[in-house]
Assembly symmetry: C2
Homo-oligomer: 211 residues x 2
């Protein structure tokens, strides 16, 4: 859901400080390696992403990269696993329409952001089965975390009891992905809000209560 999250986290600098706890060096190597993966992917695409190029760029030993990540699929999967492991929570604006609009704006930003990391990861998922599986798991986790948006809406009476959270969230977000990623439409600042409003209206009409 929040595809801006991996981009943000991945470009965060490593935490400063002189203390080297157990695992500190390993975590720093991971940080450098995953930064190299995302930089290469954005700059050169999937074809430029090789274990050797990642090792060169990150300064990590080739054998370390091979041992720990195996191949390009393993590297991409770890980028997405890291994103899945963050502490992201969906927005809480006080209304279903507002929450879905805020969510869609995050999706929109991620898909139109520079560097275009989200699009590059999605494109890579069509070539690497481990990346596809990791992306699937990332999105499943995001939709799970967003279920609270729907629970709050039901509690406020904005949608009937029994509303299926995932179906509502997919309906709200899918048009943003479809327009930007597949139909390749120009970015439209109103798209996020329109798709959110549509889903909220459908939810109020009971569209997401299983028959």
């Amino acid at each position: 859901m929040d595809d801006s999250s991996p981009a943000t986290r991945i470009t965060d600098p490593p935490p400063p400080g002189p203390v080297r706890r157990p695992g500190g060096r390993s975590a720093q190597v991971r940080r450098r390696v995953l930064d190299a993966v995302t930089a290469l992917l954005v700059e050169q695409g999937y074809d430029g992403l090789t274990v050797d190029a990642v090792a060169d760029r990150s300064g990590a030993h080739r054998t370390t990269v091979y041992r720990r990540w195996g191949d390009v699929g393993g590297l991409l999967a770890d980028v997405l696993a890291e994103a899945t492991g963050d502490d992201w929570r969906p927005p809480d604006t006080g209304s279903l329409d507002g929450d879905l609009t805020a969510l869609n704006r995050e999706v929109h930003e991620a898909l139109t952001g520079d560097p275009p990391l989200t699009g590059a990861l999605i494109a890579a998922s069509f070539r690497s089965p481990p990346a596809a599986e990791a992306l699937r798991a990332f999105w499943a986790d995001r939709y799970d975390r967003c279920a609270v948006v729907v629970h709050r809406a039901v509690a406020r009476g904005e949608a009937p009891a029994g509303t299926d959270p995932r179906a509502l969230l997919v309906a709200a977000t899918a048009p943003v992905y479809h327009e930007l990623l597949l139909l390749r439409s120009d970015a439209d600042a109103t798209l996020a809000r329109r798709a959110a409003r549509t889903a909220a209206l459908a939810a109020a009409a009971g569209a997401f209560v299983p028959a």
Copy 2:
């Protein structure tokens, strides 16, 4: 919209008959070449799709293929141009919900069909700018043709005047693409109907009338 259409047309045999009209041979070469493109794309993916492989498989001369299509991007663009040039029309079931459900079933079939040509073409569009542009044009044409579905719904009173055809059609179809192509969910026979029903309910509530 109707992604089953290219698959169906592309696997159609060439028309029989001994008569060779002007252009007949050229059309037959195109048929064989485009059949070879789709067969190679499905069997070996984008990496197996080269002008030389297409020439070998189709029996066409390499120079003919280079002169007429230029490169792999030109070949993919022509596959999609041929699909755009068909006489497909959207279903007319008598209700908005019915028309959208029938449309979504065509999308669902195309995305889960065997051979998986539609998915392979979409994946290729992430690697070939000419294929991306041709796919964009294909979808723009399909959504244009489907506008009549919305006009009929407005005439029947199922959606208010001023309903934006494209916004409604994208809302109806996007969840099918999103679930099958990006979220990689298992095929679900109810998805087409549910997404159609959601869009029809939202349309009735005025969701697609620009504010």
